[in-house]
Symmetry: C2
Subunit: 414 residues, 2 copies
């Protein structure tokens, strides 16, 4: 049994590069950018009018002139025109190019227009006012979005602006999620008294969807030869296998043996934590090069091995382990750094065993503080208690008493 | 010009019910649940073994017996068997039904098995230990998930468990997003010097995708008759229209007139805020009943009117107004309460105008505190600055100096 810290270290040493693909920018939200986005021109690309009104030659105003004959109009989207007479003005619209020979914009709010003449009603105006000057936000070639950024709505506007209709992003791993356990029936079946419905695979599908990773699912009966045959195929076809169940000490917990027989190297089995202790983690990295080559060809990409996450079958165990281990593994694999979030415990809590405890908490915001209130469930089988919480707070194994006001890392799931 | 508070009040008084639809549960993440989810049986549905090991009659242990002949095995997913001789035991697996005539489970870790006899190696065991008793997490009929919950991965497991293969969720509004502005060209076009690429509609599409709202987009040239003709049709076909641009004082800012001529009632125009001041908001609710009926039939649903959000064309104005006004409008429409988040300003900040200021900030977590560091952009046209921040902090209009350590509401966008 290893510590949470050691487990995380081993997992972060098993990350993989799944390569890069180019996708339409509008589909890229949530994906990880794999190129630097540079300004394709200055921003703004021209001296841009930033208020509706008139553009003048500031010198005329400085010389005391207040009334300006309207010589023309410069709408947004039109080619730049010129002010011919410095004692006249041009009506200008937000987003338009500033007309040639003008250098200050006065808003409609501050002028009166009568008989084609605009009169300025304020005493003070500044040179270059209401002009968003060429290149002020960025110069041609400036770095606008760094590689490895997780794309959000705010990046979408920049990608559109610089004309990146297709964008390079990290390719997602090919994932198979497998449930085991002969007590499981389908969601639309009526379980017999000793049966329950499958649920963990769907939870895992949803947790991966949060990362924009598509996945497939399968259920395998607790029969060793069948497990072995199917998993052998999955190891060839997928980058990552996620299992739920069959990794503990039960007579039908065949997975560790099957993995071993198929050449998946065990990197650890069991972490000193609750819930989720019997987690099995391994990789096919130690298979001989020729075996890897076979896999490589059949997968049709450059992946060198398959990573196996064998989560325990209890619903909360699977849930917390996916968040605490698969998520960081994925983020490091695609090159994203994630800041650790912390919260303040709202009440005293006691946990005696010498295990790291992932305690379910409800989060609330109080005066800029993130407060975590424990939600007491009935152990790792109590799926319904997840609904009442928003996060897990990670209580370290080196003490038993956790006081109200103390700060610990959290893993948020909504 | 009205205050942010008044604007929000008007918008929240214009919410709508878009009805309910039934969708596959696995597609329901991010949607708003529109039925209470009840336990279809007790949870667990039987006295469930929670550790791999042996099940015994506790009385025998209490009477001093330590070695138990293994009489049978109870795997998960099998019908309940019975212990025939109270001095024997049954091997049991996690997830199995507790065998009849047994009432305590001892883990494999605490026993030795030899020649078909299990010997207990510990001195203390408890009655009913390692049993997750029937109904402990919930009773048949218990409320597991409340109506109006935003469905996340944690709800998916519960939906699967109770057999909700289809689930009732709030129907999404039918949304059209329209850009205007003759300076705009397509993302895959090369703009002329006085042109820029369309970006706001794509940003809005992405911001709505975060709410799992699909949308359509269109671009209309700055030509009043064309605008009027197209918008008339959109008013008939959509529940919500989002515009970007053409709501300010420019000569080609035709939208307010067009809305007026089409019978869209202006509920406000301009909010005392920066950025995003010229925001126009209205609704067709005041159209006569017969006109509404026409719309109702053509939309083919029970919507009574169309809501029009006319956002200003500057990128940050559109962005912040969508988050500050469309989001709360949507959440209230579908019945979700959202907790206000707050953060602590990390440095002094001065803003003189008597306007509510939505300041871009970078968030960080320090000892359970959420800290907001101002990101200085170059005004509402500076799209690139959105990339460097994660949120807006809302600074009230009744003061000019904001001190490091003060707490204000934030709107997070990643």
């Amino acid at each position: 049994m290893i510590s949470v810290k050691e487990a995380k270290k081993i997992i972060l040493n098993s990350t993989q590069n799944f390569g890069v693909e180019e996708i339409p920018f509008i589909k890229s939200v949530g994906r990880i950018l794999k190129e630097d986005i540079l300004a394709d021109r200055d921003f703004p690309p021209f001296n841009r009018v930033s208020m509706d009104g008139i553009a003048i030659d500031f010198t005329s105003f400085k010389n005391g002139q207040r009334s300006f004959k309207i010589e023309g109009i410069q709408p947004a989207g039109s080619e730049q025109i010129s002010l011919n007479n410095p004692e006249n003005c041009i009506e200008v619209m937000t987003g338009a190019v500033l007309p040639n020979n003008t250098n200050s914009v006065i808003r409609y709010e501050d002028i009166t227009i009568k008989n084609g003449v605009a009169t300025i009603n304020i005493d003070e105006i500044k040179d270059a006012q209401n002009i968003h000057s060429k290149g002020k936000d960025g110069k041609f070639g400036d770095l606008l979005i760094k590689q490895n950024t997780k794309i959000s709505a705010s990046e979408i506007g920049v990608l559109a602006t610089v004309g990146k209709s297709f964008v390079k992003v990290a390719k997602q791993p090919k994932v198979m999620i497998v449930s085991t356990g002969d007590e499981l029936v389908g969601v639309d079946e009526i379980p017999l008294e000793h049966q329950i419905r499958r649920s963990n695979v769907f939870t895992l599908v949803s947790l991966l969807e949060r990362l924009h990773i598509p996945s497939e699912t399968a259920h395998i009966t607790d029969d060793k030869p069948i497990l072995k045959q199917k998993i052998e195929r999955y190891l060839q076809e997928y980058d990552v296998l996620l299992f739920s169940g069959a990794v503990s000490k039960g007579k039908f917990d065949f997975l560790p043996e099957v993995f071993n027989e198929l050449g998946v190297e065990k990197l650890f089995h069991k972490i000193a934590q609750r819930p989720g202790k019997p987690f099995w983690f391994g990789s096919t990295a130690s298979l001989s090069i020729s075996e890897q080559d076979v896999y490589q060809n059949e997968k049709g990409n450059s992946k060198k091995n398959t990573i196996v996450f064998g989560f325990p079958g209890n619903p909360i165990s699977t849930f917390v382990n996916c968040l605490a281990y698969f998520y960081p593994w994925y983020y490091k694999s695609v090159g994203v750094e994630v800041e650790e979030e912390t919260a303040i415990l709202s009440e005293d809590f006691v946990f005696k065993p010498s295990l790291t405890y992932f305690l379910q908490v409800k989060l609330s915001y109080k005066f800029g503080h993130l407060v975590a209130t424990p939600i007491t469930g009935n152990g790792s089988g109590d799926l319904a208690s997840l609904v009442n919480a928003d996060a897990f707070i990670q209580l370290p194994n080196d003490k038993n008493e956790f006081k109200s006001g103390e700060v610990f890392p959290i893993i948020r799931y909504r």
